[in-house]
Subunit: 279 residues, 2 copies
């Protein structure tokens, strides 16, 4: 497996790196960002996966999200993967919310997406192997978070893999692809018309179908322009209440959907994850 470090920049004492590797899951080159806090030689650090939203590459959170100071202080490696396969021969669509930049963290079963759009396998199985081989991570201490489509990714991956992550958080997540235009468009395209096949990619459906997860924190801005039409936080509040889960779902007054919102609360999320990761 060819894994190559593309760049390295000191930031807040730690090292913000970018890596590229050949992915067997997607059949393409994949790029990810990795922030490595200062640490003693030979130490293994806990890892926080940060999944980005629609239109993003590995670069958006790396550049816009103010996680680096807190990650260095708490000694947590932060990995920002890309949101889809890319490149020559990879299917795409002209819309911002479908195709490249909009992988939705699913393994596509439909053409022309099936050969490369395997972001579930990439994030759940392959990337952890790549990261464990290349970086000083302690894979027994993992946490996951994400923004918007990436919040959907974090919650669904967490719910499908109970025990893997010490803690799970999300910023303005898409709650239920079964119940919003973004999700209906993408999952119809990637998975086909049988909505039963979508349920493993839907936080609410996973909870309804019995999935359980502890240590979950969700922040949602009250001024988010997508709250009513796409994100629908209330669906998660209902599902969590009906299942008797003790999740912390917070409305943040006046915040919109941008990285200005994520950056405001990411240090608090990292401190919260760190408490679970350091036990």
């Amino acid at each position: 497996m060819s894994v190559e470090k593309l760049s390295s920049s000191l930031c807040h004492g730690g090292d913000q790196q970018v890596w590229r590797h050949d992915s067997r899951a997607t059949g393409t080159k994949m790029t990810f960002a990795a922030y490595i806090p200062e640490h003693e030689e030979g130490a293994k650090l806990p890892v926080l996966w940060f999944l980005a939203g629609l239109t993003c590459t590995h670069e958006n959170a790396m550049v816009k999200c103010e996680y680096k100071k807190a990650a260095n202080e708490h000694g947590v490696i932060v990995i920002c993967p890309d949101t889809s396969p890319r490149g020559e021969g990879v299917a795409d669509h002209e819309d911002y919310d479908f195709g490249q930049g909009a992988g939705f963290y699913v393994d596509a079963t439909q053409q022309p997406w099936q050969p490369h759009f395997r972001m579930r396998s990439y994030i759940e199985d392959e990337l952890p192997e790549v990261v464990a081989a290349a970086l000083p991570v302690d894979m027994d201490r993992q946490a996951i978070t994400g923004h918007s489509m990436g919040g959907h990714g974090a919650l669904t991956i967490g719910l499908r893999n109970p025990g893997r992550f010490r803690s799970t958080s999300a910023f303005a997540p898409i709650i239920s692809p079964l119940n919003c235009p973004w999700g209906e468009k993408a999952l119809t395209g990637y998975l086909g018309d049988d909505r039963q096949d979508w349920r493993e990619y839907d936080s609410v459906a996973l909870i309804e179908d019995g999935a359980r997860l502890q240590n979950v924190l969700v922040d949602q801005g009250s001024a988010d322009e997508w709250l009513e039409g796409q994100l629908k936080t209330h669906l998660l509040q209902d599902a969590v209440r009906d299942a008797g889960l003790d999740w912390d779902i917070r409305m943040q007054d006046g915040y919109d959907h941008s990285y200005f919102f994520v950056s405001t609360f990411v240090a608090e999320h990292i401190a919260w994850h760190a408490r679970h990761l350091k036990v």
Copy 2:
């Protein structure tokens, strides 16, 4: 004068805004970012001007530079202007370091740049009027900073206007356009071949010609890829020493030229400016 607010996003408790206005200095629409900390109704806040570097718009520092938390804590408005005029009918050049995105904070005298490339007048004279009219700023409490070409802008504007800014700082500034390829290319283009005309746009020449400025802080990364060939911090160290000035010029070990470097130290700069602004 038409001044229009384009956007507004809560971030770290304050409001990150973008504004656009008709500029008489450049004869174009100009866009700037303004971060407004939380404040009491009717209060007037000190202002920090943040001048960006080559290729940047108003957006780069707004998105990449982690100034917002510190600005809110210290109650300092931060203004990020564009780095050149833009739009239809505005001269441009295919290179990244000349033309649009590379105004160098000069008033051009040469064609085809002279009609619109008047960034000195824009930053020194017009934008302060626009900001004072639109925002709750206390213009008796100003400070200025910038990155790279914007660090050159901050230092030269500070040196030409002693008394206007309580404090002046810079991140990885271009020290002397008279003595580096970026400067020689740009100032030849904008100002012509008579290098005597360049001296008011050169920190070292301004100091040699008698300009004096107090409360100056400069940070430069030791791993900056442009340090030797373009930035040449040692020229400023020499000029400051020869003039007997007490400036704080710091080398930051291992940091490169990126906003990862600026973001690491910007909170410290804001705290330092705030001490001067609050007297």
